[in-house]
């Protein structure tokens, strides 16, 4: 699975979690740019992504999640290794 495909899947998850079917994301999308992206949405987002990609983020990965780019890169790196 390449990064473009992963980004598209993540975008669909973002849309569902934030209840916005038109939401677009990029690497810099963050709680500063997407309304209602708070800590609870962060957890819902990340557990939904974990479930969708059948993976588990490690502590060293999740500590650094500050924007959509960090999350997508972590997914890509994990799927690449597997």
């Amino acid at each position: 699975m390449n990064k473009i495909e992963i980004t598209k899947i993540c975008r669909d998850i973002f849309r569902k979690v934030f209840n916005n079917p038109l939401l677009e994301i990029d690497e810099n999308s963050s709680p500063d740019t997407i309304p209602n992206w708070d800590s609870l949405q962060q957890i819902i987002l990340l557990v939904t992504i974990e479930k969708r990609f059948d993976m588990k983020f490690s502590a060293s990965e999740s500590q650094n999640f500050k924007n959509a780019g960090d999350i997508i890169s972590a997914v890509f790196n994990k799927k690449k290794i597997n």
């Binding site: 800590s39 609870l40 949405q41 990340l46 479930k51 500050k66």
Partner: protein, 228 residues
């Protein structure tokens, strides 16, 4: 004040006491630990998780070991609390806290956790960037009644101010019926600036009460505290 109590930065050796502090502060005099309810874990599991997270020592949020101060008497910790400057690293403390808990959410609990979080999503307040946040103040029963929490809070505010060099706002979130903490804060000059109530069964299953308040200290009241 020569009562033999000193206030100092927390050390790794204080880890167990800091975990006690966090858990007792969350309980607010009840038997409910909100984090356990939110993540579907028990107190024993939470204690181990908190120890691990505290040792990461990530700065600028409520689970930063080096953000805690400890009151010590006769070489043992008797009280503690944490403070930080909101978004000093550029990211909200709430996001930092969410991130560190992710690895501890069990795969089989994901749906349950997501559902619970969705139900309580409006049960909180936005913290003002640049403000001093204080949280988790706790003193052993035998040492209460000595204004120790007030001393811890004043010490923490001064510590954070020495980093910023400005006089910003101080904020704290607590359960509305946590009267002991409310009274301490009010005596220090804090006023209630926000309140939220969620009338859902899930809230009372997880939290000690269904109403949270945010109290703030700023302006003349803050200056008065610092000069007392």
């Amino acid at each position: 004040m020569s009562d033999g109590i000193i206030i100092r930065p927390a050390k790794k050796e204080d880890l167990d006491f800091l975990v006690d502090t966090i858990i007792e502060a969350e309980k607010s005099g009840t038997d409910k630990i909100a984090t356990c309810g939110l993540l579907s874990i028990d107190e024993t599991e939470l204690r181990e998780i908190l120890k691990e997270i505290l040792l990461y020592d990530i700065p600028d949020y409520e689970l930063s070991l080096s953000g805690f101060v400890v009151a010590e008497f006769d070489n043992r910790p008797i009280g503690a609390m944490i403070s930080w400057i909101e978004e000093q690293s550029g990211f909200s403390s709430a996001i930092l806290k969410a991130n560190v808990f992710i690895p501890f959410i069990k795969e089989e609990k994901r749906d349950e956790v997501a559902q619970i979080l969705h139900l309580i999503k409006d049960f909180g307040f936005r913290k003002t960037p640049g403000s001093i946040q204080i949280e988790y103040f706790y003193v052993l029963n035998e040492f209460r009644g000595r204004r120790l929490i007030a001393r811890l809070i004043t010490h923490s505010i001064k510590k954070q101010l020495s980093k910023t060099g400005t006089v910003p706002r101080v904020e704290v979130v607590l359960m509305k019926d946590n009267l002991s903490s409310f009274n301490v804060l009010q005596r220090l000059g804090f006023v209630t600036c926000n309140e939220v109530t969620i009338k859902k069964e899930e809230i009372l299953r997880i939290f000690p009460s269904d109403t949270k308040i945010q109290m703030c200290l700023e302006g003349e009241a803050l200056t008065k505290l610092l000069n007392d």
